[in-house]
Symmetry: C2
Subunit: 280 residues, 2 copies
């Protein structure tokens, strides 16, 4: 179907947004619209400029016969800062307090707008790393992991506390929960992760880091590598933390059940993205 | 920031795709770009035409002072038919067979491209219903439920087998698993679902329908309504099925563990969408 520039811009924008991180040969667009490659190049110039000006991300052009264009989603530091502030306010609401000083976060983790934004932010933070797959622990981290994975265009693998018949053979490890010091088990389906994979670990909450460090140990059983660790909310912890190198959006500073007060602060996300090497 | 038509088309396409089902006043775009409403109307005409021609969905214009434009994602029947065929092939691969005649589907449910497509298809199937929230059972249905919810722009609520301290007070019911006839429990956080909500139930697999019918019973405890039921894979079942009114993409006809054969067919998705009243 032959499309004019205006139609091409709409369809190419949709196509690129649906295929983040994928290399799209210019010939795919040229064939799709019956247009010359030179016209497609001009279209891509307009899209790139608009994506950058509007904070949608950027387009990277790879020259040569095997080349093409790649959409890299990203969130500007300014937008990230304002969203982290918004998240802090949402999380600090006293009605989130549950008996035992726990926080109710189910609504946040079920909200597609929050997930979408947070997913894009983590994708931005790990844009410069090679990520083959995103890993999380069942069940609360799953939506977040999928939101990140959709922007990185990679699959998700889920670690469980028990093995299921529908997962086939599994590898299981024991680990010590950092805060409660209890021995727990985590399992991963054997065929769900390839040797040598670069794995981004995503979780909704981290206290002492026992679960995350368990996932790191599990990865070594699969001879896989940790590409990064992203945490939505980390809790302030006096004792030694088991995990040092991670990116967090929100830090829980103090939870006072009696006075029904929750104090939160920014996590280390902004420091982390500011120290990243810029995208080529 | 003042944008020319070409830039506006790119940015408006991104904005609409990010905000499905939401009513966007024309003044939002007019202010955003410093353009006249008449220009924005023309832009929207181009976007609507391209969305429809390229099978992205459609735009609905609501006239009047409180009006605006709404992006309704949808998959054409032709595209849906070809994708269901593709899914059938993926699912019928003999290497999916696990001991006991179970099927390994973890890779399918972890693949963002599959989830995205299937999510959009279910959103299409239930476009004409009022859906306030998507519900699923932990853990395998979660990614699918989120994919559907992101196209319907509604939150997700997750039913669990056990209650967690981080969920606050819960409502729990007992139900009889349809195929194994065992009594099981499912729980839902009390504050996760409002009275009178219209709930779309999404799950990855249905055999006799015990789990789904449990979720239907759970909804009545919350005085909530079933807006629809969407199932990725239903298994052929000789005995009486507990659930009659559902939409499925793939039907498992026969699993022969000895000969390592899996026979699949299309579910009732296409019949269902063809009988829907067209979008206004």
């Amino acid at each position: 179907m032959k499309l004019r520039r205006s139609g091409r811009l709409v369809d190419m924008t949709h196509y690129l947004l649906q295929n983040p991180q994928g290399l799209v040969p210019l010939s795919l667009f040229a064939d799709r619209y019956g247009s010359a490659k030179s016209s497609i190049s001009e279209d891509l110039g307009i899209i790139k400029q608009t994506f950058e000006e509007q904070g949608i991300g950027t387009l990277i052009t790879v020259p040569g016969a095997a080349g093409g264009v790649k959409y890299i989603p990203s969130v500007s530091n300014k937008e990230a800062a304002s969203y982290i502030e918004e998240l802090c306010e949402i999380i600090a609401k006293p009605e989130r307090l549950l008996p035992g000083g726990y926080l109710y976060m189910t609504d946040i983790l079920g909200n597609p707008k929050v997930l979408n934004k947070v997913g894009k932010m983590f994708a931005t933070a790990f844009n410069h790393k090679k990520v083959d797959i995103v890993m999380t622990m069942a069940t609360k981290g799953i939506p977040l992991a999928h939101a990140v994975a959709s922007y990185l265009n990679v699959p998700v693998v889920i670690v469980r506390r028990d093995s299921r018949v529908t997962e086939g053979s599994t590898v299981s490890i024991n680990y010590v929960s950092g805060s409660s010091k209890r021995i727990q088990t985590m399992v991963l389906a054997k065929r769900s992760l390839e040797t040598g994979s670069n794995v981004l670990i995503i979780d909704d909450f981290m206290k002492a880091g026992g679960t995350v460090s368990g996932m790191v140990n599990l990865l070594s059983e699969f001879q896989a590598n940790v590409a990064g660790i992203g945490i939505l909310v980390e809790s302030e912890h006096i004792e030694e933390r088991l995990i040092e190198d991670y990116v967090s959006l929100v830090k829980l500073e103090k939870v006072n059940e009696k006075d029904r007060q929750i104090e939160v602060a920014q996590g280390n996300y902004l420091e982390h993205v500011q120290s990243n090497t810029p995208l080529k």
